[in-house]
Amino acid sequence: MAAETNRRAWMSLLAKAPAERLRVLWDAQSFAPEFNWLRAPEIGATMVRGRTGGTGAPFNLGEMTVTRCSLQLASGEVGHGYVQGRDKDKAKLAALVDALMQGDKADVVKATVLEPLEKAMLDARETRAAKAAATKVDFFTMVRGED
């Protein structure tokens, strides 16, 4: 269960990560593992659903673009990439990271790719939240000069 939770977390992180940032972090290392495609990168769409009133019955809101692929490392691990947008290279990197995270390089990949990605995304999120907080209204009542 913990393994599934971890994998869910890193795959979710990779799906949302800015492609450029992922490429830079990947290129800074020299993993370059050998692999075979199980499913070559493919661009498609997912229909996004919302809920009526935020909590009620589901409805179809509209689609978003997604790129996916699957590959197998020479060492046997199978990696899947599911990423937002139309970027076959990003999907490949996501699948490679997913596969490497299942092998003996997991700690290095985590430290050099996943953790910096996560930190960058949390920082970006925190900055937006801080700017939003600065626009929060502080109501006060004027003293009306009555006794």
């Binding site: 949302k16 498609g44 809101l61 509209g62 937006r128 939003a132």
Partner: protein
């Protein structure tokens, strides 16, 4: 009736070449990049994503560039592109209670938990042209406050606690999908919402405004309006569990409207709902008002004969791609159709003139 006529190829090719040149405009001016459109015309990009019904800011920016800023043409390009994409599946419903809010306001509760957060809004600007923008310059960084990390609760949740507002029917029924099955009437609420969220902003705004002016009068308070990012989660069959496949910006509007009640239920506020891709505040409020007006039957209200209550009228005319396709086709050659009309009018005139002559004799 259309008849194939040859002979236009050269004219068409040359027209397209000229279009490309006009699109580029004066070569003395730098060319727009897709990234510039995406970053600096973000609300136009949002509208193209919402009405094109495909969330992809780069594609929407490209469409705007290709369409020379004609929004409906850009939406058309996106709709055409999306039909070429294989469908990987359906997401789990997004959880707007978990939104990272850039903006969150309530017109009904001043002291709502989470506060009134204005965000990057045009509200309270004086709508005076800012000539400083005509010159290039650095923008000072926006001030920062103490970031909120906990989720922002929905306002309707508080009203629900007292039973003052109708609760939404919580279920996981599979909703109908307009992109798979043609719209048939009567449409349930899920189909109406899908249709409205991709409907033309101007049309939905006009319909919503008509309800405010008294056609199907149903006074709405904006219980809550929130804009921000939500995660999109999908079950991945090869994994056997769900992951986030991305993050999208949406605008959500919940209206609080006047009452419904019955012999068994005491009076309660009713609700309208708007949810739109991107920062699309006007569209989202409009959607909520029209959603509420279309609910007259299920809430046991009278049909006032108002356009906004007529689901056939609203849903069959809200799609700007259908509308513009049918509207604009009348400029294409109808030579044979028109030839028969010409013959008919000549015949009618001959007969009428003959009658005049007979009467004169």
């Amino acid at each position: 009736m259309y008849v194939a006529v040859k002979g236009g190829e050269r004219a068409i090719d040359n027209a397209h070449a000229w279009l490309a040149e006009e699109r580029r405009g004066s070569l003395d001016v730098a060319e727009l990049s897709i990234a510039q459109i995406r970053e600096q015309l973000a609300l136009a990009v949002n509208r193209v994503m919402a009405e094109g019904s495909l969330y992809d800011p780069d594609l929407a920016a490209l469409a705007i560039k290709q369409a020379r800023g004609d929004m409906i043409e850009a939406i058309f390009l996106i709709r055409a592109y999306r039909t070429t994409l294989p469908r990987f599946g359906y997401s789990n419903p997004i959880d707007t209670a978990d939104m990272a809010c850039d903006r969150r306001i309530s017109a009904t509760f001043k002291d709502a938990p989470g506060g009134q957060v204005l965000g990057p809004t045009f509200d309270y600007t004086h709508r005076l042209l800012d000539f400083a923008l005509a010159a290039e310059g650095e923008v000072p960084e926006a001030p920062q406050g103490q970031a909120r990390t906990e989720p922002t609760p929905h306002i309707t949740g508080f009203l629900n606690r007292e039973g003052l507002i109708q609760t939404e029917d919580e279920n996981d029924d599979v909703p109908g999908d307009l992109t798979r099955e043609p719209l048939e009437l009567p449409a349930d609420r899920a189909l109406r919402l899908q249709s409205l969220t991709r409907g033309d902003e101007g049309f939905v705004l006009g319909m919503a405004y008509s309800t405010q002016r008294g056609y199907a009068r149903n006074h709405a308070f904006v219980g809550e309006l929130r804009i921000g990012k939500v995660e999109v989660e999908m079950d991945i069959p090869e994994l056997g569990f769900a992951i986030d496949i991305g993050e999208i910006e949406v605008t959500e509007c919940e209206t609080v409207n006047q009452f419904a009640g019955s012999k068994t239920e005491p009076p309660q506020f009713t609700r309208g709902y708007g949810l739109v891709f991107g920062q699309s505040e006007r569209k989202s409020i409009s959607m909520a008002l029209v959603d509420r007006a279309l609910r007259w039957k299920e809430l046991g209200e009278d049909n006032m004969g108002a356009p906004a209550q007529d689901e056939e009228f609203v849903l069959y005319h809200s799609d700007n791609i259908q509308a513009t396709g049918f509207l604009e086709h009348i400029k294409l050659p109808h030579y044979v159709d028109f030839q028969s009309e010409l013959e008919l009018i000549r015949k009618l005139r001959r007969e009428a003139m003959g009658e005049v002559q007979e009467a004169a004799e």
